[in-house]
């Protein structure tokens, strides 16, 4: 096996190209999701908080599904070539979806873990503001004894 793209066989190059195409599809979708105003809101939603967004799932699954569909109807050498691209796409798509699901789960669990601490910080901030305002409005009592002593002299 060689890592040098110039020395890879045609099959290995096609598999690698399939993976790269799948990756660019996923990150292209992510860019649109984050920056494109007309991105469909349904694709920004999640079926479950522990899953990636619907758009990420679709962008992850679509390339290998499409390529395997093309392979099913292709004939001859095109079938083999498309099959290699589809395998490369699948080699990227499955681990990518697993990885993004783990990351989404970690984000959700982190959000839950940080929520009590954030609520406590907010409550403490409100208490401090209330205490501060009360101490400012309470007038300090004046001792009448000081005036009596002065007038005595």
């Amino acid at each position: 096996m060689v890592f040098n793209p110039l020395k890879m066989s045609a099959v290995e190059l096609r598999i690698l190209l399939g993976g790269i195409a799948s990756s660019l599809t996923y990150y292209g979708n992510l860019k649109l999701e984050q920056d494109y105003a007309a991105y469909p809101p349904e694709l920004k939603q999640k079926l479950d908080p522990h899953l990636p967004t619907n758009g990420e799932i679709v962008a992850g699954i679509a390339p290998p599904v499409a390529l395997y569909a093309v392979k099913a109807v292709a004939r001859g050498t095109t079938k083999e070539s498309v099959g290699d691209l589809a395998l490369g796409s699948l080699l990227y798509a499955l681990p990518n979806l697993a990885e993004k699901t783990i990351v989404a789960t970690s984000q959700e669990e982190g959000r839950k873990a940080g929520a009590p601490a954030a609520a406590t910080r907010a409550a403490l901030a409100r208490t401090a503001a209330t205490t501060y305002s009360v101490s400012r409005t309470v007038a300090q009592p004046v001792t009448p004894a000081a005036y009596i002593l002065t007038s005595y002299r």
């Binding site: 990420e56 080699l91 697993a98 601490a117």
Partner: protein, 117 residues
């Protein structure tokens, strides 16, 4: 559905993905909890705004190289094939992350870490 070679490729790719998920998952967890890792904390350091972070290089390039070295050292073709699958996933993910980072940098909005919201 898959022949033994394809299965080994997939196992290698999944192994790399899970290791990368562990590193990214920790970053995502700590960030969501309100205590993100410090900017220069190993391994989440940034080499350049256009390049993947160190943890991404470790997982996506380091794991394939390590598997390849083990496969060649032990003279086991199965491990070398796993390294190939690992390398296909690793290179694809590095290309995707780099292109995303370059696009954001070109817009003047560089990212510290590439994570979906």
């Amino acid at each position: 559905m898959f022949d033994p070679v394809e299965k080994r490729l997939l196992v290698g790719a999944l192994a790399t993905g899970l290791i990368d998920a562990g590193l990214k998952g920790y970053f995502a967890y700590m960030t969501a909890a309100g205590t993100p890792p410090a900017a220069e904390q190993f391994p989440y350091m940034t080499i350049h705004p256009c390049l993947p972070t160190v943890d991404e290089w470790l997982a996506l390039a380091g794991v394939p190289v390590a598997l390849y070295a083990v496969g060649k050292g032990m003279k086991k073709e199965s491990v070398t094939q796993m390294a190939k699958g690992s390398g296909i996933f690793g290179v694809s993910e590095l290309v995707g992350i780099t292109s995303f980072r370059v696009a954001r940098y070109a817009e003047g909005r560089p990212l510290r870490y590439v994570l979906a919201k």
